[in-house]
């Protein structure tokens, strides 16, 4: 139930809750009114019942007590005076005349106490206006066995009989008050004197008790036999106990027991015949041992209360219904924007922003102009409505911006992709250049080594020349050969040095190429960094790569600069070498040409030869520097190669990232397209 209510729309739910609470309050009012009024009514009716019943019972009691006095007086007379038929007859007739409430009077002698001259049981009873006499001592009547005689005789005390129909006697439905009279001398019971009361009269007193419309009174005897009841079929036929057994009404039987026991009480009861709810007030009528009960129908007793309650119910329900309708409309009006918001947001939640905007526009037409200015409204729901409007329009704007950014990102990603591809190609070129540099370096190395060998050999030759000169001038003829050899060697050195010069020029060219590549890499990395910045979070990885590339290109630059410097050094050294060798060559040629004429001046030559040796040492040093430089080129080339591998890796990463960016851009595009289908 509560789940069901909870799943209702807000306006209905609020209406239901308010209605339920109203109903609870209504029920509380209804019940409190009912119970309070009811207890007031019950107290009142109990009081009324008591008053009415007590009045009637007192009336009957005094009536019966008047009747009781007659046999009591007669008993006193009979106990104290001898029986005089005539006198007694007159007396009894007079009594009957004066006491219309007495139906009959009997003086019944104990059969064994009979004296022949006396009647057994003279009985005077009414018949309309006359008094009839009969002697009850007849075979078919057997008065000594009737309760009215036998019970007081055996109990030796006065009693009221149970109601009975006096067949063969008074021929009437009656109760009898029987008083034993005694033999003054022996104290033995001589007989019973009685006064009968017509039960009809007493029943009339009871049945005339009226309370409300259908309330009634009834009386039961000391053994529960119905004496008076509005259902005449019960009278003398049923007892409260047989009736409760027939109706299987244990409650009625319990009340019957209390009544028979002479208690007074006020109880709820189911009316045994009609089965309706009644209240019973019962009170004993002590003289005859009866109990009189008053039955009050609850529906009448509480009819005023029921009417009042019906009015309360009617007013309450009508009020609650009006309230419910009112609340429903007020809430519906108030919460209409909420359901509209919910409708609009449903589209937003489904990503259909355009439909959300359309829905908003459609619903917004229904909103009053006065409500449209949120700044003037203190109503949260109206504010909510406009905040939502702001939200969906902002969202829409944002999504359009995202879309254009996405488009830009898409083209950037394309550029990046192209750049990466280009970089890849460039790298291939660089690789080839690197290989060339290595190759040239090796060649320079070889040449330098050969040059060094030649220089050693030249030095050896110079030293040998010196030695030869020093050893003697005998072998002067060989000097010419040596000089020719020197001339040849220096020629070779010059040639080789020129070759070095040529090769270094090549290296410079390659370095320029690498430098250009690094320049371009640097530029690309700069662009990549800018694009990565634009792509925001998606470009973060990409930016890292770009930065790395930038760093690598910068490193490459530095290495190239170093190489350039070294090359310049090499070039300088070679140039010095060439100059020196050329100088030596020309001088050796000049010496050769002059050998003939200067052969004599051997000591001068020897001196000059001695001057040459330190210059060769300088050359050897220059060669060593050149060799070291070449080695340095190799190691720098290795660094360049390592950097190239890193660059290759970075390019591969760049390609991956570019691909990821492409994918991201693609899905972003899809999402944005979903949001903005226009």
């Amino acid at each position: 139930m509560i789940k069901k209510i909870r799943s209702l729309p807000l306006n209905k739910r609020l209406s239901v809750y308010i209605l339920l609470i109203s109903l609870v309050i209504l029920v509380a009012i209804y019940l409190s009114n009912y119970f309070v009024s009811r207890s007031i009514i019950l107290e009142g009716i109990e009081e009324d019942s008591r008053n009415i019943t007590e009045a009637k019972v007192n009336m009957m009691e005094s009536y019966l007590s008047n009747v009781e006095k007659i046999p009591e007086a007669l008993s006193a007379v009979l106990s104290n005076f001898p029986y005089d038929t005539t006198r007694n007859s007159t007396l009894i007739k007079d009594i009957l005349k004066d006491n219309p409430g007495v139906y009959g009077i009997c003086i019944a002698f104990e059969p064994s106490a009979r004296k022949d001259s006396l009647p057994y049981a003279p009985y005077y009873y009414r018949n309309k206006d006359s008094v009839i006499y009969t002697d009850l001592a007849k075979e078919e009547y057997k008065y000594e066995l009737w309760d009215w005689y036998q019970i007081p005789f055996i109990l030796k005390r006065a009693i009221w009989s149970e109601p009975y129909y006096d067949t063969g006697g008074g021929e009437n439905l009656m109760i009898t008050y029987s008083v034993p009279f005694f033999d003054k001398v022996s104290g033995k019971t001589r007989g019973i004197v009685t006064a009968d009361v017509d039960l009809t009269q007493l029943r009339n007193v009871i049945s005339n008790i009226k309370i409300l419309q259908n309330g009634y009174a009834f009386a039961i005897s000391r053994f529960g036999t119905f004496i008076s009841h509005r259902d005449s079929s019960l009278i003398l036929n049923e007892t409260v106990f047989s009736l409760s057994e027939r109706l299987q009404d244990e409650e009625f039987s319990l009340i019957g027991r209390k009544m028979v026991a002479g208690e007074t009480g006020f109880n709820k009861i189911v009316e045994p015949v009609s089965g309706e709810d009644y209240r019973i007030y019962y009170i004993p009528m002590k003289s005859a041992g009866w109990s009189v009960g008053i039955m009050i129908p609850e529906n009448e007793l509480f009819s005023g209360l029921y009417f009042l309650n019906n009015v309360i119910l009617f007013v309450g329900f009508t009020g609650a219904s009006v309230l419910a309708i009112f609340i429903f409309f007020v809430i519906q009006r108030t919460t209409k924007p909420v359901s509209s918001i919910s409708d609009v947001l449903a589209f937003v939640a489904n990503g259909n922003l355009r439909a959300a905007v359309e829905k908003y526009e459609e619903l917004n037409k229904g909103i009053k102009t006065s409500q449209k200015d949120e700044s003037s409204s203190k109503d949260e729901i109206t504010k909510l409505w406009f905040f939502m409007r702001k939200m969906i329009f902002d969202l829409r704007g944002l999504s359009i911006r995202i879309k254009s950014a996405g488009n830009y990102l898409k083209s950037s990603a394309g550029t990046l992709n192209d750049a990466a591809a280009f970089l890849e190609n460039t790298f291939a070129e660089q690789d080839i250049a690197n290989k060339n540099v290595r190759h040239f370096g090796e060649e320079i190395d070889n040449i330098t080594k050969a040059l060094a060998d030649d220089t050693v050999r030249l030095t050896e030759a110079v030293e040998e020349t010196g030695n030869l000169i020093l050893q003697g001038q005998n072998n002067i003829g060989n000097i010419g050969d040596s000089i020719v050899e020197i001339g040849k060697s220096t020629g070779s050195i010059v040639q080789k040095l020129n070759n070095i010069n040529k090769r270094t020029a090549n290296i410079s060219r390659v370095i320029t190429t690498i430098s250009n590549i690094a320049d371009r890499t640097n530029l690309i990395s700069l662009n990549a960094a800018i694009e990565a910045e634009k792509a925001g979070e998606a470009g973060l990885g990409f930016k890292v790569i770009a930065d790395e590339i930038k760093r690598l290109s910068e490193n490459t630059f530095n290495s190239l600069n170093e190489i350039g410097e070294i090359i310049e050094d090499v070039k300088g050294s070679v140039a010095d070498g060439v100059e020196t060798v050329s100088k030596y060559h020309s001088r050796s040629l000049e010496g050769f040409r002059e050998i003939q004429k200067m052969i004599d001046d051997l000591s001068i030559i020897l001196d000059k030869n001695k001057e040459l040796i330190p210059q060769f040492e300088m050359f050897k040093k220059a060669m060593t520097v050149a060799q070291n430089s070449v080695a340095s080129i190799g190691s720098n080339l290795l660094a360049v190669e390592k950097l190239s591998i890193d660059t290759k890796q970075a390019i591969s990463n760049l390609l991956d990232v570019s691909e990821t960016v492409n994918d991201a851009v693609h899905s972003l595009e899809n999402e944005v397209n979903k949001i903005i289908t226009d």
């Binding site: 066995l145 309760d147 055996i154 109990l155 009989s161 053994f223 019957g256």
Partner: protein, 329 residues
């Protein structure tokens, strides 16, 4: 077709219709044997089986048109039988044996009751809790009779109690004029209970449980009637027993019929009382599998003879076979 010419068909139909009409009177009352049953008390559930046998057409089914005559304070069923005012009567076994001994040779054709309903009821609150408590106490009993069996009970248990004859009410007992009262389970006991005395407040001495089970109600007819109308006797007995079974089958309906008869007779009618009476009758008649055994138990017969002899109600022995006649064969 020639055998069923219109003329022949007419003749055939004439015979057919005549035949039908000839059969009809067999079903009408005029062809039924008129029977009067005098029961030994006023209308009440004690005779419910006979009422139901009439209302349900069981007697008619057996070819009998039965009228019930109730007796009571002023008349006696046996007198009707003697005078020819009844074909069958119901009677107590003990009463019937006395009459038989006194020379009225009538026959028991069905011992319907199997158990004595005689009970001595005493109030626990007045000190009657066991057998000996009855000693030297006053016990109310019907002035009309049925005293032999309670007397035999007192004698058997050496109880020196005094019987106080009462007319018909239990008021003397209820008002403490006597200490106990002889009651019929199906009648006065209910009166006591319906006066607000619960059964738990009472000590009940059921005489049948003290070795003195002399069953009560049986169906009797004169020797001559039985001799001349064996088939009628048989049919009457079978129909009556069927009536009883039917009476127990639908008790509400049965009790309503009893109430109707009581009201018609101007008697006090009490539904609950009649229902209790019918239930007690079922216990007394004790049908087994919807069958009542109508044979007089020889042991019960012997006890009855002994009790009556002891009470000097009968002079000598009575022959079982001449008293009880099995008419079903």
């Amino acid at each position: 077709m020639r055998y069923f010419s219109p003329n022949r068909l007419k003749i055939f139909l004439l015979f057919f219709v005549t035949g039908i009409f000839a059969l009809l009177p067999m079903q009408s009352n005029s062809s039924l044997r008129k029977i009067i049953l005098a029961v030994h008390w006023q209308p009440q559930a004690q005779f419910a089986g006979y009422y139901v046998a009439i209302t349900k057409g069981i007697y008619k089914k057996y070819g009998l048109d039965v009228t019930i005559r109730h007796t009571g304070f002023k008349d006696n069923a046996i007198d009707y039988l003697k005078a020819g005012g009844a074909n069958f009567i119901t009677n107590f076994l003990s009463g019937a044996l006395e009459d038989y001994d006194h020379g009225f040779k009538y026959r028991l054709i069905g011992q319907i009751s199997k158990k004595s309903a005689l009970t001595i009821a005493g109030l626990k609150s007045r000190g009657i809790k066991q057998l000996n408590d009855l000693n030297n106490k006053k016990i109310a009993i019907w002035q009309a009779g049925f005293r032999e069996l309670p007397q035999a009970f007192l004698t058997k248990y050496n109880l020196n109690s005094k019987f106080v004859p009462v007319r018909s009410t239990v008021n003397l007992f209820l008002m403490g004029g006597v200490d106990a009262q002889v009651v019929m389970d199906y009648n006065e006991l209910n009166s006591i209970i319906f006066s607000g005395i619960s059964e738990d407040d009472l000590t009940l001495f059921r005489i049948a449980n003290y070795g003195l089970n002399v069953p009560e109600d049986g169906i009797y007819c004169t020797d001559e009637f039985l001799r001349d109308n064996k088939e009628v006797c048989k049919n009457f007995l079978l129909a009556s027993m069927e009536g009883w079974i039917e009476a127990f089958r639908n008790k509400e309906e049965t009790v309503n019929e009893c109430m109707k008869l009581k009201r018609k007779a101007g008697l006090s009618a009490n539904y609950a009382h009649q229902m209790r009476m019918l239930n007690t009758m079922e216990d007394i008649i004790s049908p087994v599998n919807d069958t009542i055994d109508p044979v007089l138990d020889k042991r019960s017969f012997a006890i009855a003879i002994q009790v009556l002899k002891d009470a000097k109600r009968i002079k000598g022995d009575i022959n079982y076979d001449s008293f009880f006649k099995e008419v079903r064969k």
